[in-house]
Symmetry: D2
Subunit: 336 residues, 4 copies
């Protein structure tokens, strides 16, 4: 019997998880929760997802806008096996989930302490098997795990320095700036490094971060001191065979994040998403034991496959991470 | 027998026309032409379109990059009924098309004089029936025709003033600026007005234009002096029933072009395209005989349906514009 | 004896008015009010302006940051003849000013109703003579008055349509977006038109407005139906001789707002301000009785000269608007 | 007798060097060279700088635009002691300077090999004394030298990793993008590291670089492994006493490059320039022997003081770098 999945918060991440769940044969959406009758609410209706309000008080405004409301979140939690919490950071639904005895997955905007268990498929799938609560790490952390984990496995890592050049707003977000400024995150080293260590236990990684005025992808400049001295080509070959990592090439006209997203659009996925981490093949350089590379992160979508895997692990559907990844990726059409 | 269509220039417009042709049952792609082995060339290959080089000299570099080249443009023209020219403005292939006696459609970057026949489905479909050469008018002109034509038909138009706030670069174009400047087009009134009159014969329309630093959609602020005094709601109702016009509502969270494109992504079309012209329902205001409205133009895709209709007209496949539109729109999944 | 001027709110406008007052010989700054110890507070100190807190409660934090606080706003109002209110829109100090029986000038962010008297030097200087309260109209309205008033005087105006392409944030404002979107103001016609009519009584003007992602200047595309048919050159000549209007020329490399601001920087004024309205000489086109032109507005500084004139009018220092303008402009170094 | 200085290329850097030379008492401008009659040419005239054309052929167009042309570059070189070459990279005037036996300074866009001598005041002033040709290193390299040199002197440096987040265009440049993209420099490590070593001989420094869509300042995220373990405060104290380094504080509202430039505008210098390197006080963090910091570079102006010092060294006006710096900085109004 398929896992019954509820989506609490039908925005950037929520709507993508809902679509991805629908593409799997071992899970199904039993309801999505949204507060306001935005265009995304109408999209949920059109997709045929049962629509729930957070509480009774939101129903009148939703119905006035002609949204058909099936019930409230507490009612949804009664029929769900697991809820994917994609609400804003300040919401706190954990007590409600506990009360209804439902499993829950949060996103990377939350702190590790909320669940005590952070999740990245490749790094620690096994630890999530049967768990009640987990947090899928953020888009940036997921990206770092995807490329660092195979290096760690094959060559060993002394330490990592990552500088995150962060997009300031999502493409749909027209309130947030800056329009013309660069803003460093002054708490140095930044929180991103420790966040990677919540799933790649014991990794020595420091990060700094800078916000820049784009809406298209985060970009990481990463420097890794390895315990071995592979060639640049060795690293490229390794990532060619790493799931959810896609190599791009400036020789094919992909000079920056805008062309990566254009290439992703041509792939034909819904919303032009890029679930893979894009790494520039011609930006991989090993000097001695030091590896330099650049990667780009589609902040809106890279964590979606990990959410699917995490559902499988927590609901005991699959114990082998490679089998889960294969299933997820095939259903979602990732680059093989 | 389906019309045999060649695409010369497989970039922003070319690749979209190719996809749209493939969705129709009365036409087919017999080949696409591209000069360089960019990521879009690989996309063409993956789509199974026969790949042609412009001339012999481009073949070695393409083959070196592992593009399978079927032949050259002249060879393709021998087997095509019609070629869709999506090459940059400075290219001049007309003599070649004449030599090979193939029909051809150019895009709005070209001048009206190149063909003497400009095309917009609603405005002048009939004039293109059986024609050898035509030019589908630009994204901006297409957008103006879509909303003005029904007003003209139903209420009559004294005159139009349109101010075009133009995106400066396409999303994939990272060379072109400005980053932080507003640039007026100083030739006033701008060329956009007369361009509309190449298909809406005799319309009294003046336009000015300003370039702004975005990559997402053009936006038009339009003021129409009508020959009648309908209400704002009358105009909204009219456009609700106009093909290829989509009404959006700021009340659903659509405040600007970024949210329109997000909404379009949710529609699930390839590349998140919006073939329709988006008009703000709550931005339509009639004061006396004067209509004010705002519309947004997805510069990369709005002309694609018109290209398909134009093929049908020129190749005598269909003489009724409404039947062609219906067929095109259904196949491409436009909002009914 | 010089007019004693207080500045309430030492930000974008406040600091500029303070500098401009200091440049005059018939007025002086007796104090500036600021809430928080930002870099601008330190700038006020360095400039030697007596520093006041809004109320007692703000003093400890200011003093902790080593700002020398002279007193509070009520104390300042006791020694001031007039206060220039440059606080954010939501503040409401009018009752306090009334209580202390001090004259006050507000900025264009406030509504006309607050004072019942709006002010633009050229349009209605006389009406402010001896007034207790006035509002200097916004940067956009000031810009429209500067160029429209001489047209009105010399040729007469049937009606005006202005489309305002508005910068979304000031250069220092890194919170506000959008980064990549265009947002129309859906209340059409916009409030800008009626606002012009608060000082150019009876002018028939309609406006629409669109926000774009820049921080550099507003740009207006203006269409004026005149009661006469001057030539384009006549209009250029008229503005050549209009105070506070500066003609620029794309032939000298000034294509957009970024080059206007670069040119302004070369003028050598503090902060690179441009107090004049910039009009493109080669963007002025008269067709029949219709005038098309583009103008650019330095939103941070164009209203400063009007604030100075308004002080003179309200405090009965000068009854002739031309004499006040000449004095203001000479002291501030405007283009003669 | 003052050094006779010619400026070849009166653009972003040239006009600033000209202004700075004029502020000194031991040098003077004998002429500036510009090709076209842009607004900057008129600015040169207004400043009273003798205006020269590169060659005879440029004179007619300049004179037609009413620029008063004194002569040609070869004529100017006859009367100059030294020429500051601020022409675009592709120009090659070295043979001409050799022919006229005039000293010359190039800017950082040129390669080290052009002169064999690169220059940064603090790092290697002495090596330029009496030299015929030198290159003042780029804005980024100058910035790194300013902050790294005192660390090197006081604590010793094992190695440096710098990630440069580069503005993509200058504020006046409206042609260059991207509008919405992040572009890594794929040649890793980038050329910036070796460039620092042309003046800080033997420094072990690696750099990577990323272009982002702003026009305001470069920002560096720097990580230094030191040979000692000072505290964060020790480093702050060191830079407080370092010339041409200015500490800024996010607590005073300076969160990013836009606020730095606003603060600089308030300083009241021409064009709002910031000749100092801005370092966030609260972004300085020492962890063990590793120092993390962020600095921001005003790309248009930080090298101007070094150009002045370089003139003095090359023309044997002053042999002590500290005396030259003090003289330059006092005349230009730098923060003491």
């Amino acid at each position: 019997m398929p896992v019954k999945v509820a989506i609490n918060g039908y925005g950037t991440i929520g709507k993508r998880v809902a679509d991805a769940v629908r593409q799997q044969d071992d899970m199904e959406i039993v309801g999505v929760v949204k507060r306001r009758p935005t265009f995304e609410a109408f999209d949920a209706m059109k997709n045929g997802f049962p629509f729930y309000a957070p509480t009774e008080e939101f129903i009148p405004a939703l119905e006035k806008a002609r949204i058909k409301v099936t019930g409230t979140l507490p009612e949804l939690l009664e029929i769900a096996d697991i809820v994917i919490d994609c609400t804003p950071k300040k919401a706190n639904y954990k007590p409600l989930y506990e009360k209804h005895n439902v499993k829950a997955i949060w996103q990377g905007g939350e702190k590790h302490d909320l669940t005590g268990l952070s999740f990245n498929t490749m790094a620690n799938y096994e630890d999530a098997i049967g768990a009640q609560f987990a947090r899928v790490v953020s888009c940036n952390t997921t990206g770092l795990c995807r490329t660092l984990h195979p290096i760690q496995e094959k060559y060993g890592i002394e330490n990592v320095l990552g500088v995150m050049i962060r997009r300031s707003a999502d493409p749909w977000d027209s309130k947030t700036g800056p329009i013309n400024s660069i803003e460093p995150i002054l708490n140095v080293p930044s929180h991103h490094g420790p966040d990677v260590a919540t799933v790649m236990y014991g990794l020595n990684i420091q990060t700094t971060a800078v916000k820049v005025p784009t809406t298209i992808m985060h970009l990481h400049s990463v420097v890794v001191k390895m315990k071995a001295t592979p060639s640049s080509q060795d690293i490229v070959d390794l990532w060619e065979n790493t799931p959810r990592v896609a190599l791009v090439d400036s020789g094919e006209g992909i000079k920056g994040t805008s062309q990566i997203m254009e290439w992703a659009k041509d792939l034909g996925r819904k919303r032009g998403d890029l679930f893979e981490i894009a790494v520039w093949k011609d930006g991989v350089h090993v000097v001695g034991d030091t590896l330099y590379y650049y990667q780009a992160i589609h902040q809106e979508s890279d964590v979606i496959p990990e959410n699917i895997d995490c559902i499988r692990a927590m609901c005991n559907v699959e114990t082998d991470k490679f089998k889960s990844m294969e299933k997820t990726d095939k259903a979602m059409g990732l680059i093989a």
